[in-house]
């Protein structure tokens, strides 16, 4: 592509109209030359519409001070990210500028027009070649590896090198920086192509170098009981967490980013509070990942475009994040992308659409909202790589529906394309029932690691208990039979000791699958047991006391003496009132035995 020039002819917020001399492509990046005080600044922007020689660009910075007549230089390149070793543990803005490096250069504030290379050019990586001269390679073929933290980072043939190449030279084992040539390839026509450890890939195009896409089946453990047991997520699957503000979306995402059983976590803080990113940013370098013995930061990439940062870059940030996720998937790793919040991303699209004066769809969102959301979530998946390995990208996105009403366009468009729905409820969060995932409204199409039949039974108990609870509001406690009342107490009990989880308790915050299976077993035993009580008051007190024990159990170290004592205690307590098995549980309990 050629590099054109242009002149600013109009400014409207962060949308600038440019008269272009020469050719220009949609999504091409251009720089607008302007002055901030006396300092020359080049503001990055992206072409979003072309009409004749007039192009509309969205500027990734504040546009104060721009004027008609300012010069624009187009780069001939689409908006892209740098891929190579050194992405892990980085904190980027939506355009892949490393924020700590920006801070070192500019101080407290984000100055306009300062861009820093995403991959450090000085770091030396220990390269081990995996090909020899004469080998035939295609794009994404591994040329060699470098250790990056705990992972073996594959240096691959750039994904945009289509066709087959012959390796002519490859660097010997040694230390190189990302811009050093590590291989020389030759295509069929004899043209030589030098390859370094890094290359660029346009963010809005999915990375499509894999042999086959598979159905997501293996569960991804989050160590959150209600998710793993009731609404599991599969590796390579997608899920969404819609919820009104204050319902705990972000806390849930943070917990997941810490505990999820995956190799790499990409956190995309998109248009949300800066403070929340800071918690991740400051705590992750201190927290040790029990699986690897290294800090959590070493397996994390943070893409951070918070709400007060320019809107156009917010739109780009989710794409930056998913492209990095796909890149690591190509190394046979399981990557989890947490996007918080996709609604802000959709709003960024809406703002731009409004400035472009497009005909608005529902709630002024653009008509292409659904297809854009679908295309984003479709970038998740489990794939087999060409070398037979397997990698996955799992996407979990929060949605912030206006007014907490799930009937709005972004939630609805998202629900169509995800595999699991963790709907957060205001009622539950008001009652301090965390995580506030609604146990009756949420769903998952994936299979978890706990027996389906048992889980279904537990859900039925919750459902029945909820019905009794509703009824009790009308007919009162005295109008409810003892039998129904016990069902109600059982469901409340299950809610209190299993669905709810204390994120601030060191033990209860993350529960292993093993422990989930075990405690769910105890709970299941109680739910299926027919309990013998003389009257409601007795039942209520009994459950209250048992709940206390169970909560203590949740806080006890797995298999510690205290834990075993409490288990025995609970068993004894249940034994003292047990009178056989509930009628509706006979078959399932039989099956278990």
């Amino acid at each position: 592509m050629s590099q054109s020039r242009g002149t600013v002819i109009g400014v409207n917020g962060n949308m600038v109209s440019v008269e272009v001399e020469g050719e220009v492509a949609l999504n091409e990046v251009g720089y607008i030359d302007t002055y901030s005080g006396d300092e020359r600044r080049r503001l990055k922007s992206e072409v979003i519409r072309i009409r004749g020689s007039r192009a509309e660009v969205q500027v990734f910075e504040m546009t104060t001070g721009l004027g008609v007549g300012d010069h624009v230089e187009f780069t001939g390149e689409l908006l892209a990210v740098e891929l190579g070793p050194g992405l892990l543990a980085k904190v980027y803005d939506g355009l892949q500028n490393p924020l700590p490096e920006l801070a070192a250069q500019c101080g407290f504030f984000l100055d306009r027009g300062v861009y820093i290379e995403a991959l450090d050019r000085e770091t030396r990586w220990r390269f081990t070649p995996k090909v020899s001269p004469g080998d035939q390679v295609e794009r994404a073929h591994t040329l060699g590896v470098v250790p990056e933290g705990i992972f073996e980072h594959r240096v691959m043939v750039p994904f945009n090198r289509y066709g087959t190449y012959t390796v002519k030279e490859v660097a010997s084992e040694g230390e190189y920086v990302v811009t050093d040539r590590i291989a020389l390839l030759e295509d069929s026509s004899g043209t030589e192509v030098p390859v370094t450890m890094m290359f660029e890939w346009p963010v809005k195009r999915p990375i499509d170098v894999y042999a086959e896409r598979l159905k997501p089946v293996d569960p991804m453990m989050t160590k959150v009981r209600i998710i793993d047991t009731f609404f599991p997520v599969a590796l390579g699957g997608t899920y969404c967490i819609p919820g009104p503000f204050g319902a705990g979306k972000t806390v849930l995402q943070q917990i997941t980013s810490r505990n999820a059983d995956v190799d790499i976590v990409i956190v995309a803080a998109c248009g949300e509070r800066a403070g929340e990113v800071v918690e991740t940013l400051r705590e992750f370098p201190e927290l040790i990942d029990p699986r690897t013995g290294r800090t959590l930061m070493e397996r994390t990439v943070i893409i951070c475009n918070t709400s007060s940062m320019p809107v156009a870059a917010r739109e780009a940030s989710v794409y930056t994040a998913v492209t990095i996720a796909e890149y690591y998937r190509q190394m046979g790793l399981n990557v989890l992308l947490l996007a918080d919040s996709t609604s802000r991303w959709a709003q960024a699209m809406r703002e731009m659409s409004g400035r472009l004066e497009e005909i608005p769809g529902e709630e002024a969102f653009p008509a292409y909202l659904e297809s854009v959301i679908a295309a984003f979530y479709e970038r998740a998946g489990v794939v087999t790589l060409r070398d037979g390995g397997r990698g996955s990208v799992t996407i979990g996105g929060t949605v912030s529906p206006a007014g907490g009403n799930f009937e709005e366009p972004v939630t609805q468009a998202t629900l169509k394309v995800v595999g699991a729905f963790h709907g957060l409820s205001r009622e539950r969060s008001d009652a301090r029932r965390y995580p506030s995932i609604h146990p009756l409204e949420s769903w998952s199409k994936y299979t978890g690691s706990i027996d389906r039949g048992m889980v279904e039974y537990a859900r039925e108990v919750l459902h029945h208990g909820d019905e009794v609870g509703q009824m009790m509001k009308v007919v009162g406690e005295e109008g409810t039979s003892l039998d129904d009342y016990v069902w109600y107490l059982k469901s409340e009990f299950a809610d209190a000791v299993y669905l709810q989880q204390n994120a601030f308790d060191p033990v209860d915050a993350a529960v292993s699958v093993e422990r989930q299976k075990y405690t769910f077993g105890i709970l299941f035993d109680l739910l299926t047991a027919r309990l013998n009580f003389g009257q409601k008051e007795e039942a209520r007190t009994w459950f209250a006391r048992l709940r206390q024990r169970f909560l203590d159990l949740n806080g006890a170290e797995w298999q510690s003496d205290g834990f075993k004592e409490l288990v025995a205690d609970i068993g004894k307590a249940v034994g003292s009132v047990r009178a056989g098995v509930e009628d509706n549980a006979v078959s399932i309990v039989g099956e278990m035995r």
Binding site: G10, N12, G13, S17, M62, T63, T64, G65, L66, G67, V68, V91, L99, P100, L102, A103, G107, F108, L110, R112, F245, G246, G271, R273, A274, G275, V277, V278, E279, L281, R282, E283, C304, T306, S307, S308, M309, V311, R350, E351, G354, E357, P360, A364, F365, A402, G403, G404, D430, R432, K473, V474, G476, E477, E478, E537, A544, R545, L551, D552
Partner: protein, 441 residues
């Protein structure tokens, strides 16, 4: 010599259009009309067509009035001389003091690099138990008070302004009733807090564009003080008026409205203000407490809704009390572990019981028989409301926690409270046997 343009081509609402060259987006102009001078800001460039938003409004502007571009964006004077002063939305004195012109700083500066932020770690004590115990205010937090017209939210703000442990207060008033403005001035003067306070006040009768400037000016000044090491508390009342001004201007500009007439960028507009709350490592901090009145007490209205997604929690002010339900300080967990070990237990336990009380109240109102448990809850709820929730209660945190235990012990057996056993053993008021419940079983 600056060029004078004397042909205004269109005037619609507060927006005028002139043909001019070499004008920069976001810069200011001075419009001189027969009614006096007013600042105006460039809000759109289209070739040589320049659209300007006139701060004092378009009323009375004539097509023949003069426009001079000033060549800089909106600025405000910054110095210690601001303390104790009152200004309007354009930064002109509202008291009888002199105008300030020195050390101009730009408003709407760039946002803080997230990598330079630190985890909030200091509690701001207010002496209000519903805040200190249940939803602690944290330095660098942004929190709105959700309320409805008629509630004493300005009284609450004034009380916080008087009692909060901070270095200085900046009050931004938007669309304030003149009486409310006088009320704030009076309370602060009488309480002797005026010397640590700066007021930027836009009253309901002032031009609507100035309303938009209030938070920007207030926060720009706050930011400078914070960089100079001051712990600043910014009080903004009422952000709904601010949003309505945004709406008014967006509609005049013929923007496509998204929800109930509000512009699609309402979220970003509010966020860019609230996100100014920050704790500068090695310097001071900005904490923002705003008021958002909910039209029709509807939290799903676009203004409170978008606000809720931006801020770190919210306080609901209803019937003159800060409601424990819905009210949330998202940052409290960062500080309430270091206060007293029973803080969290009391906080969660008392609210859960209060929720149960509400359920019992509902049953009672429907005429159901009250069980023993219900009776206990009713007693508890009343005590909780009168000695904790009431806004007149002014006690330090530790005393409030002790009072919490007293109330619990007055109403319940230890096991009924749902509190952890070790806390009960340590804090259950002596003289009321903690094991009584076990023995009777």
């Amino acid at each position: 010599m600056r060029k004078v343009y004397s042909r205004i081509e269109s005037i619609a609402g507060n927006v005028i259009t002139v043909t001019a060259e070499d004008v920069r987006y976001g810069h200011l102009a001075m419009v001189t009309s027969s009614h006096g001078k007013s600042l105006a800001e460039v809000i759109r460039l289209n070739g040589t067509q320049v659209s300007l938003q006139v701060f004092t409004g378009g009323r009375g502007v004539s097509t023949g009035d003069e426009v001079v571009f000033l060549g800089s964006p909106m600025q405000v004077s910054f110095s210690d001389n601001l303390l104790g002063r009152i200004f309007d939305g354009s930064g002109n004195p509202r008291d009888k003091g002199p105008g300030l012109e020195e050390d101009l700083i730009e408003i709407r500066g760039p946002s803080v690099n997230p990598a330079m932020r630190i985890i909030p770690r200091n509690m701001i004590r207010t002496g209000i138990p519903m805040i200190d115990v249940f939803n602690t205010l944290v330095e660098s937090q942004k929190l709105p008070i959700f309320s409805v017209s008629g509630e004493p939210y300005n009284e609450l703000l004034a009380r916080v302004a008087m009692q909060a442990e901070v270095d200085m207060i900046i009050l931004g008033g938007m669309g304030l009733k003149y009486d409310d403005y006088l009320y704030f001035r009076e309370v602060l003067e009488e309480g002797g807090a005026m010397s640590r306070t700066i007021l930027f006040v836009h009253t309901a009768s002032d031009p609507v564009v100035e309303c938009l400037l209030v938070p920007d000016i207030a926060l720009a000044v706050a930011e400078r003080f914070a960089l100079n090491g001051k712990k600043v508390l910014v009080l903004l009342t009422d952000m709904t008026n601010f949003s309505d001004s945004l709406k008014e201007i967006a509609i005049t500009m013929e923007q496509v409205p998204s929800n109930r007439g509000y512009p699609g960028d309402l979220y970003s507009q509010l966020a860019s203000r609230y996100e100014k709350a920050v704790d500068f490592e090695g310097a001071g901090s900005i904490t923002i407490l705003g008021v958002t009145t909910m039209p029709g007490d509807d939290v799903t209205h676009p203004v409170p809704d978008n606000t809720g997604y931006i801020t770190e929690g919210q306080y609901y002010l209803r019937n003159g009390r800060i409601e424990p339900f819905g009210s949330l300080s998202r940052l409290k967990q960062l500080v309430n572990s270091d206060t007293r070990e029973d803080h969290r237990g009391i906080m969660d336990g008392m609210v859960t019981l209060y929720a149960n009380y509400k359920e019992s109240m509902e049953k009672k109102s429907m005429g159901f028989r009250m069980s023993d448990w219900d009776q206990k809850l009713l007693r508890y709820g009343e005590m909780f409301e009168s000695s904790m929730m009431d806004l007149s209660v002014n006690i330090p945190l530790e005393q409030a926690l002790d009072r919490g235990w007293e109330i619990l012990a007055e109403c319940f057996e230890p096991a009924e409270t749902g509190l952890r056993t070790d806390l009960i053993n340590k804090f259950w008021p002596k003289g009321r046997a903690a094991g009584a419940d076990e023995e009777s079983a």
